[in-house]
């Protein structure tokens, strides 16, 4: 809970696009409390838990990023999205076959686990730390699959200008609300988006009837979210089927088991190096490494060597992950998209 002021600061700068981080102290407080409770609870089936992760620079003690997981999208209610569909209108008699793009309001993603709240301090964007911030969640899921659904989804912000005008909202939602989207969201008082969704058009939207700029916005990512989006695509998330019902941004989805980090991760026993880089042989490579504690979960990126069922890491790394020799970790290769192996630890 001591992280609240830092997260509040992040919420303030990330206001546009990351709706899961409301710039409101009380709501953030509730969110953190709920997260603390989720981590410490025994969970057999994913329910209303939310898990909130922060990226801490251990050198400064500063919190420089956030990420989260909602265990069950739309829990207690529905999770709305638009599903991209193609309707074929064909007539043999007239020798015509037309493919019509339509958006169907659906609840398909209800109950999936949602990756949310990704934010990283711009100073860290061009490092490997965004990889850790996003993918550490997957290592946690690998260790505690019963806490999550076997399918994941993640909403990504759609196109809008600096004032928050979204061409998709203007063509669709606005007709039913007569207000700007940020205003509508504010009105809903930070309650679940379901509240607003129920006021949205329930019948399919025929895309050709929308203005060109709204059509172009369907499935288009807001440039601000390129980094987290690309990490998810690299993991194997698919972006073609669902879009956000408000701004048309792409909602990605995937089976947990097919993701790169899940497939590449292993449960290994910790071996400590003598504390110098020299002990790492040529097989040393950067890994995402996480402890397997449900409540005191820690993950970092570290140089490591895998030897059969053991992982060789530096003592400082082990210490930062609250590990001693013989403990188990989850580790997955950082992969080609990662940057040079880091010197320090987090």
């Amino acid at each position: 809970m001591t992280d609240l002021p830092a997260i509040e600061r992040i919420a303030a700068v990330s206001a546009v696009g990351i709706t899961s981080l409301p710039p409101d102290r009380e709501k953030l407080y509730d969110k953190l409390r709920s997260s603390v409770h989720s981590f410490s609870s025994e969970v057999d089936v994913n329910g209303e838990e939310i898990y909130f992760f922060v990226l801490e620079n251990t050198a400064t003690g500063e919190i420089v990023g956030t990420s989260g997981v909602v265990a069950s999208a739309g829990f207690h209610d529905r999770f709305y999205s638009y599903r991209n569909e193609i309707i074929v209108h064909a007539s043999q008699e007239l020798k015509v076959s037309n493919k019509i793009h339509a958006l169907h309001l659906c609840h398909d993603l209800t109950g999936l686990s949602l990756l949310t709240s990704f934010y990283i301090d711009p100073a860290y964007e061009h490092t490997e730390w965004p990889q850790l911030l996003s993918r550490a969640r997957l290592l946690y899921m690998a260790e505690f699959p019963q806490r999550f659904a076997d399918k994941l989804a993640a909403e990504n912000p759609g196109l809008c200008d600096d004032e928050g005008h979204s061409p998709f909202w203007n063509a669709v939602g606005r007709r039913f609300f007569n207000m700007e989207y940020p205003q509508a969201e504010q009105l809903s008082g930070g309650r679940s988006k379901t509240f607003i969704a129920e006021l949205m058009p329930q019948y399919p939207i025929y895309v050709p009837l929308l203005p060109a700029e709204a059509q172009l916005a369907i499935g288009q990512l807001h440039p601000v979210a390129e980094l987290p989006f690309s990490i998810l695509l690299d993991e194997g998330f698919e972006a073609d089927t669902y879009v956000d019902i408000f701004d048309g941004g792409p909602t990605v989805e995937a089976r947990l088991q097919t993701l790169r980090t899940i497939q590449g991760n292993r449960r290994l026993q910790v071996k400590l190096s003598g504390g110098t880089e020299a002990e790492f042989d040529s097989s040393a490579a950067p890994y995402l490494v996480a402890n397997i504690a449900a409540d005191t979960f820690r993950a970092t990126i570290a140089n490591a060597c895998i030897e059969r069922n053991a992982i060789l890491i530096a003592p400082a790394v082990a210490a930062s992950l609250q590990l001693k020799p013989g403990d188990y970790v989850r580790a997955a290769p950082l992969g080609a998209s990662g940057h040079a192996a880091p010197g320090g630890t987090r």
Partner: protein, 355 residues
């Protein structure tokens, strides 16, 4: 003398000429000989009672008895949509409201419907432009009400009529441009032609099946939903004066209105009544005794009561008790003799008294 009669096999040539006269772009009378022949055959079978209700169409022509020229056509389909689906959009609305958020929006919608399936339709009206004068148009259109009144069991409880929607001089329909065109890369007039040759349901099957929010259409398209083409407004007024009302169904291509009315509420049907024919004594005859025809009287639609030899004409006169005096020529044209039944109603609803 102008008289209405069922179309006959021999009318094919004259009908084709009439269709050519109508020119391109008239849905109801395409200049297609094969199609016209099929329509005549269907009508003959309907009058002869040899076809099923789903196929029945009663086609009438307006004949100038002086020249034996066919100058107009009209028809009643007994039951639409029983062979090919009959589509229309039902204009509706959805309300999205939240007291908590202070939101209340009414959004107009269009629901694709087959609501008119099985209902009888007034259709195929066309009058030679050279004859668009006097009461010819009214006679041609309203003659059908006397037929329906006389042969009610052949028609549904409700009668419908579709009216042409708004399109410009080049045949462009704002509604089609905003909706149909996206689903069917075709000009409105081509779609309209397909409608005329009985292929409307093929086109309809390419149209959107899900409900539409009208607010997603262009303002020009939204403005013409349920609106009648300028040239068709007199026809709309005529139907309205007989009790027809727009009940929220529009054409799926041009959004022109469909109007409807229960048979017993059609004024001309409800107020028509049977009289016995009385032969009028010519007023020119010296010392004439007996009923006369008031040449300055009100216009009446007078029909005989035969099915296959059905005739309707306009007569000026006045009923006398239970009889209706007819001149010898009129009686002959109608094929009736003194004492035969005729069904009669004033041409104008204003002249009618409750029956």
């Amino acid at each position: 003398m102008m008289i209405i009669r069922p179309i006959a096999a021999a009318d094919i040539g004259a009908l084709f000429q009439l269709a050519l006269h109508a020119g391109v772009g008239l849905t109801t009378l395409p200049a297609n000989e094969e199609l016209l022949q099929a329509r005549i055959d269907a009508s003959l079978a309907s009058f002869a009672g040899t076809s099923e209700r789903a196929e029945q169409i009663f086609v009438f022509v307006l004949e100038d008895t002086a020249s034996h020229k066919i100058v107009g056509i009209c028809a009643i389909a007994a039951a639409v949509g029983l062979r090919q689906p009959w589509y229309s959009y039902r204009v509706g609305q959805v309300v999205h409201a939240s007291q908590e958020l202070g939101i209340f929006t009414q959004t107009p919608t269009l629901f694709l419907s087959n609501d008119h399936t099985g209902q009888s339709e007034l259709c195929s009206l066309f009058l030679d432009p050279n004859y668009r004068q006097g009461k010819n148009g009214s006679l041609l259109s309203k003659c059908r009400f006397l037929f329906i009144a006389q042969f009610r069991e052949r028609f549904s409880k409700k009668i419908i009529a579709e009216l042409r929607g708004v399109s410009d001089a080049e045949g462009k329909s704002p509604f089609w441009e905003s909706l149909g065109r996206h689903f069917f890369s075709m000009e409105f007039k081509d779609a309209d032609y397909l409608t005329g040759i009985g292929k409307k349901s093929f086109v309809a099957e390419l149209m959107p099946k899900h409900p539409l929010y009208s607010s997603f259409l262009t303002p020009a398209a939204q403005a013409v939903i349920g609106q009648t083409h300028e040239l068709t407004k007199p026809a709309l007024s005529m139907l309205e004066s007989e009790g027809f009302r727009f009940e929220g169904h529009v054409d799926i291509f041009d959004a022109g209105p469909a109007v409807e009315c229960d048979v017993e509420d059609i004024d001309a049907v409800a107020k028509s009544r049977l009289y016995k024919v009385a032969m009028a004594v010519p007023t020119t005859a010296p010392h004439a005794k007996g009923p006369t025809v008031d040449k300055a009287g009100i216009h009446y639609l007078v029909a005989n009561t035969w099915l296959t030899h059905f005739r309707v004409m306009l007569v000026r006169g006045e009923p006398a008790g239970e009889t209706f005096p007819l001149s010898a020529e009129d009686a002959q044209a109608l094929g009736v003799n003194a004492g035969d039944n005729v069904r009669v109603v004033t041409l104008s609803p204003k002249d009618r008294v409750a029956g």
